[in-house]
Symmetry: C2
Subunit: 115 residues, 2 copies
DNA sequence: TTTCTATGCATAGATAGTCTATGGTTCCGG
DNA sequence: CCGGAACCATAGACTATCTATGCATAGAAA
């Protein structure tokens, strides 16, 4: 999908974003989406239908571990923690993101030359 | 798809990259993929199976116009030009890219605080 | 009381972009 | 003569994300 105003995310970055947020400390799923929205200043908005499947995917790959607990509001919530494997994965995804986004910037920075 | 080393592109940026390259001047399809690779310093690599469908898509949407002509090597090639509509679309996609990539950077820049 | 919103989890199905694999033609160099 | 690069193209698979939907509880508002 083209990154137009219809998209809530840059495709392919969701896993990295989740891993990064969880790296800041244990959080439950709903909290992850809130923090992504807040830190990105309301630009990035993870739909619940994207979030939960992603969390299950990351857990299945051994990058996150989950545990039920009580949320700040005293409600049941599933808290996620980053595993060592997840930490390595995050580093890799960040490196890849930097490579690729810088490459995109190179293209966008290419001088305009004609009418 | 996660932006790992298995990906040749940042998903969702292909249309923008193509529009940008064509904005530099008329080019044929094969040349577009070469320029993307060169300008990005061999980081971005557009597969032919991604390129040609994308070009047809962009043409159908009225962002590009195509015309057969002779390549630098004297071979038949389809040259693409950016339309006014395509120029507007490019501007929009660039703005969107900036918004979203900056938002991603905000997340990645969030301070690490614990073990 | 009823109703709406926020918090919290989850799945099914549609959409769509990109990749792999394949196919073909022409031209040039070894 | 053969291989590879220059060119175009399509079919099928994969997979990430979105939309739509479902459920439950708590608190505020009406």
């Amino acid at each position: 999908m083209a990154p137009t105003e219809k998209t809530d995310l840059l495709q392919g970055t969701l896993d990295m974003l989740i891993l990064k947020i969880v790296a800041l400390g244990p959080v439950h799923g709903y909290g992850i989406s809130q923090r992504i929205r807040q830190i990105s200043k309301e630009v990035l908005n993870v739909q619940q239908g994207s979030l939960y499947p992603a969390l299950h995917r990351l857990e299945k790959r051994g990058w996150l571990s989950a545990e039920w607990g009580d949320s700040e509001n005293g409600r049941e919530a599933k808290f996620y923690k980053l595993s060592a494997k997840g930490r390595r994965q995050l580093a890799q995804e960040e490196a890849s993101w930097n490579r690729l986004s810088q490459a995109v910037e190179l293209i966008l920075g290419a001088a305009q030359q004609e009418a």
